[in-house]
């Protein structure tokens, strides 16, 4: 019954409408204060673009959300569940949060199809047949169905990144995190990945996306978060942010990247 795959996840009544919430999150690398009192609340279905100069803590922040980085103080709540030390809790949070990396991080010893089936089979305990059907469905959606039996090394950068998106979607996540998904791509491949992300956004996926693609931010973001030196300087609608950002730091940053 492939139709089941298309239906968006039904929320249980009374479930949290806030997908991701960060309450006064602080993080240090050694003595370096990487995240300073981060407060951010992302309602279900909202698309947030996070931008800022390099080293400003953007990646660190979204990596804290699925606990790839550990925060030292404050609270992170994902889909109503706190991200804490408890390993089993973390795996549960992670299996509901998809992540796409700058360098794709596909598993090179497995085919694209096997990459997509791995987590559904071993984490969700899905039968192989169903997992394969699911994987083929999402590979078709990111338009690389014909590459299913290839190894990642045989794909172009753009195709690899779309495969990585499909792999994350196979876990049917409620939130997708993108960590500079187009930064490692050749210029002519950026668009195919952004198009995939736009179509995902148009279906109501909750997205947090670290990117320098301001066109993309303008097109799909509900909110732009600007970070600098480990703090959130400004969070605003894209229209307001690009037209009249209130902080000097944001204006400087925009002047740098929008020549």
């Amino acid at each position: 019954m492939p139709q089941a795959v298309y239906t968006p996840r039904r929320e249980a009544p009374g479930e949290s409408v806030v997908a991701v919430e960060l309450r006064d999150v602080n993080k240090w690398f050694g003595s370096f204060h990487a995240l300073k009192n981060i407060k951010l609340s992302v309602p279900r279905g909202q698309r947030v673009v996070i931008c800022g100069p390099s080293g400003s803590g953007k990646s660190t922040m979204i990596r804290c959300i699925n606990h790839l980085e550990e925060h030292q103080s404050g609270e992170i709540i994902v889909n109503g569940k706190p991200v804490a030390q408890d390993l089993r809790r973390i795996d549960e949070v992670r299996s509901n949060v998809g992540m796409v990396f700058q360098h794709f991080n596909l598993f090179p010893h497995l085919t694209v199809l096997e990459n997509c089936m791995l987590a559904p089979v071993w984490v969700r305990k899905m039968p192989r047949m169903a997992a394969e059907q699911l994987a083929r469905h999402y590979l078709d959606r990111v338009k690389i169905a014909e590459k299913a039996t290839n190894y990642p090394g045989q794909l172009s950068g753009g195709q690899q990144q779309r495969a990585a998106i499909a792999r994350a979607l196979c876990m049917n996540p409620r939130v997708m995190l993108f960590d500079e998904p187009t930064s490692a791509l050749d210029p002519e491949m950026v668009k195919e990945v952004l198009d995939t992300m736009v179509s995902l956004a148009s279906e109501g996926m909750t997205m947090l996306c670290v990117t320098h693609e301001m066109g993309f931010a303008r097109e799909i973001a509900d909110r732009v978060v600007f970070m600098d030196h480990g703090e959130i300087v400004e969070a605003n609608t894209p229209h307001e942010f690009f037209a009249n950002s209130r902080s000097e730091r944001a204006r400087q940053f925009l002047a740098q990247i929008l020549k």
């Binding site: 699925n66 790839l68 795996d91 549960e92 949070v93 992670r94 299996s95 509901n96 949060v97 998809g98 992540m99 990396f101 360098h103 991080n105 596909l106 598993f107 090179p108 010893h109 085919t111 791995l118 987590a119 071993w122 984490v123 290839n150 190894y151 990642p152 090394g153 045989q154 990585a164 792999r167 994350a168 876990m171």
Partner: protein
């Protein structure tokens, strides 16, 4: 802007079709020889020297082992010929070299054990064979029990118990190496994972074990296993005299294996771990499905080197009084009834050929494995 090269500007509107490559021009054999063997006077001289050396060496070996060798007849024929190998000696001692002092009437048990082992190993190693999971089950669960019952014997099954004192020859060498190989890889993997673990006590235990074992010569480990273990363990728990060096060799090579595996683990990019964790995959599954398959593929050459080293290290068990294959050759060699000018050389040549045969086989197999696993990794 008066650059002449821009005038007239280059504009190509049509797409140039791809053309077939020029026909393959092979250099004639003579050109090839000239280019590769005699490119300069010096290289020509080297070529001649090495060809002469190779021909001379080959001639020496062949004339000893084949041309001048004694192929039939008995001791007298061998004594009369100081020029070539004495193969009748090997033929007569062959059973002793294979079984040691294992009783003649019971040697079929060794044959059967080795035949089953050979079939199962071939089944496991042949990657295209059907039902390899069953083969693995049989080899790792059923076979050890069967081998124990067959080799040692169980009185209830009308198989007389053969004391391990009597075991010897190639039987011991193969037993030692297979047990060593089968145990050292998994123990090595566990030690390597332990050494990289975040849990401080696990890490300390693994690190200490690896460093202590690697810091001690294998002979010392053998002596300790043989003479000191009985001091610490009560009598009824003291392992059999054959089991002690078996444990020693498995633990000794697993310490080396741990370092080999660790090298592979370190070569796996952090992104692979992160991608696995981000999908919610547990530590155990991440290692089993993602990290170890890649890490072990990278270090296949070193793993096989360790196996080959282990195979040859089994000769050291002779020191604690176990008659392995080399020890059997030694014993056969000094048999006074066969005293002759070329008996020792023949014995050692044969021993060398047997060891080389097994090691070369392992090496070739690992190369074919590497080629097979390299598919799709050409990024």
């Amino acid at each position: 802007m008066t650059d002449q090269s821009l005038r007239p500007p280059i504009v190509n509107l049509a797409l140039m079709p791809a053309m077939a490559p020029p026909a393959d021009v092979r250099p004639s054999p003579l050109t090839w020889i000239k280019r590769n063997l005699f490119s300069t006077p010096f290289s020509g001289a080297l070529t001649i020297c090495f060809v002469l050396l190779a021909v001379w060496l080959l001639h020496q070996v062949l004339s000893f082992a084949i041309l001048n060798a004694v192929w039939s007849g008995g001791r007298e024929a061998c004594r009369a010929n100081p020029e070539g190998a004495c193969w009748p000696f090997i033929a007569q001692k062959f059973d002793y070299l294979r079984y040691g002092a294992y009783p003649i009437s019971e040697r079929w048990r060794v044959d059967l054990t080795q035949a089953i082992g050979a079939i199962l190993i071939a089944w496991l190693l042949w990657t295209k064979a059907p039902r390899r999971k069953l083969a693995a089950m049989l080899f790792f669960v059923f076979y050890p029990v069967a081998a124990f019952v067959l080799l040692r014997g169980v009185a209830l099954l009308h198989l007389p118990v053969i004391d391990t004192m009597l075991w010897g020859g190639l039987l011991i060498t193969l037993l030692m190496s297979i047990v060593g190989i089968v145990f050292s890889l998994p123990i090595g993997i566990l030690l390597a994972l332990g050494r990289r673990s975040d849990l401080p006590i696990v890490k300390a235990v693994c690190l200490t074990f690896i460093e202590v074992v690697r810091g001690v010569p294998f002979i010392t480990v053998l002596f300790m296993a043989n003479f000191m273990m009985p001091l610490f363990v009560p009598d009824y728990l003291t392992p059999d005299r054959l089991l002690r060096p078996l444990i020693a060799i498995a633990l000794f090579s697993s310490a080396y294996m741990a370092e080999v595996v660790r090298a592979g683990l370190q070569a796996i990019p952090k992104g692979q771990y992160e991608a696995a964790k981000a999908l919610g995959i547990s530590y155990f599954d991440m290692m089993r499905l993602i990290v170890l398959p890649q890490a072990l593929t990278i270090v296949i050459p070193s793993i096989v080197s360790t196996f080959i080293g282990l195979f040859k290290d089994t000769t050291l068990v002779a020191i604690v009084g176990i008659a392995d294959f080399l020890k059997a050759v030694e014993t056969a060699r000094v048999d006074p009834s066969w005293a002759g000018p070329t008996i020792s050389s023949t014995g050692y040549l044969f021993a060398g050929l047997v060891y080389w045969g097994f090691c070369f086989g392992m090496s070739r197999y690992s190369q074919s494995m590497e080629r097979q696993l390299a598919r799709g990794h050409k990024s």
